[in-house]
């Protein structure tokens, strides 16, 4: 980001777009694994063992954080476009920081085994 792009709303746009693209890339694999459960129980078990590897666990953590970010930043856009703007600077820029903190907190909960 250079010059005029240095504002939290632009960062929110980039995070929302990139996390959305990452989720689009993930979903076909997710459905593939779900399909295995219907067709071949042994293959699903093999896949579930594979998902216990540290690198895959890290990928899951990234996914949890990105999914949370995408959801929260999407809610911010809905509020911006539907709720009244309290003042001229009503971009809800602070919400971007809050969304990042909540997403990281959810990622921490995932790592901690509270949700997994």
């Amino acid at each position: 980001m250079t010059g005029f792009r240095i504002n939290l709303s632009y960062l929110a746009f980039m995070l929302h777009r990139c996390s959305g693209l990452a989720l689009v890339c993930f979903l076909p694999f997710h459905f593939l694994v779900l399909g295995l459960g219907l067709e071949d129980a042994a293959a699903l078990d093999e896949m579930l063992v594979f998902t216990q590897q540290p690198l895959v666990k890290f990928g899951e953590w990234v996914l949890v954080v990105l999914f949370s970010l995408h959801l929260l930043l999407g809610l911010r856009v809905l509020v911006m476009e539907w709720a009244p703007w309290p003042h001229q600077g009503g971009l809800r820029s602070g919400w971007v920081i809050l969304a990042g903190l909540i997403a990281l907190a959810l990622g921490w909960l995932f790592l901690d085994g509270v949700i997994s």
């Binding site: 010059g3 005029f4 792009r5 504002n7 709303s9 911006m80 476009e81 001229q88």
Partner: protein, 237 residues
């Protein structure tokens, strides 16, 4: 006297930066520097300005990568010994710092931005309630002087040729909220059509760059809401 290095774009779409050395003064705007270069070092340098006091908006340029009014940008505030000045982004370049703004102005027309009234001088003026929500919405957007800074700051404009841009849509928002405008439906149809408000990604660059603190993002959000309401049959435009 310390000197400032100024890199100025020379040429049209094809060209290169040329460096000049200008004495650094106590009170000096970017426009002062460009004028000094043109008057004392290279008279062939082309640039636009008129009022020099932040009223007309014609001296807008990219200063260190940011669209700004050069008359209202003090060299001191840039906190840099090297200043890079280029013509406004998202507009064809004519020569040096001068851009062709006709495409930008055409988009104003495409957004249905011609005010029309059904009344003439024999009719009583429309009663305007300054405290009504509609009037407040129009007032918040109405001070735009069409300088093109927000248009230059918008990435969606650079990605999508048909996008009308923040200035044109901001004007459309002020018109659809104006009690006196008789062609609100046509303005709304243009603002929500191809290249209209639905293309905005709420990046907020226009708001961050506007020299007078207007909020085209807010106006476009209002248009989006109004366009959805009109599709659902709930808009009174």
């Amino acid at each position: 006297m310390p000197h400032l290095t100024v890199r100025i774009w020379r040429g049209a779409d094809e060209g290169e930066y040329q460096s000049f050395s200008v004495p650094m003064r106590e009170n000096q705007t970017v426009l002062d520097v460009v004028s000094e270069v043109q008057r004392s070092q290279d008279q062939s340098l082309s640039y636009r300005f008129a009022c020099r006091v932040g009223v007309c908006g014609s001296c807008a340029m990219m200063v260190n990568g940011k669209p700004r009014w050069t008359c209202r940008t003090h060299i001191r505030s840039l906190k840099s010994g090297v200043v890079t000045i280029a013509p406004l982004r998202n507009m064809p370049r004519i020569k040096d710092l001068v851009t062709d703004m006709s495409g930008f102005i055409d988009k104003w027309g495409k957004a249905g931005n011609v005010f029309e009234s059904e009344r003439d001088r024999r009719d009583a003026p429309v009663a305007v309630d300054p405290s009504s929500p509609r009037r407040k919405a129009a007032d918040a957007a109405i001070e735009c002087i069409n300088c093109g800074v927000c248009h230059a700051a918008c990435d969606v404009v650079s990605w999508n040729d048909s996008y009308l841009g923040p200035a044109a849509l901001n004007r459309a928002w002020s018109l659809v909220n104006d009690e006196r405008h008789s062609r609100k439906k046509e303005t709304m149809a243009a603002a929500m059509g191809d290249g209209g408000c639905g293309n905005c990604h709420s990046q907020g660059n226009c708001m961050a760059a506007c020299p007078i603190g207007l909020s085209p993002t807010r106006s476009i959000a209002g248009l989006k809401k109004m366009s959805l309401m009109s599709l659902l049959g709930g808009s009174d435009v």
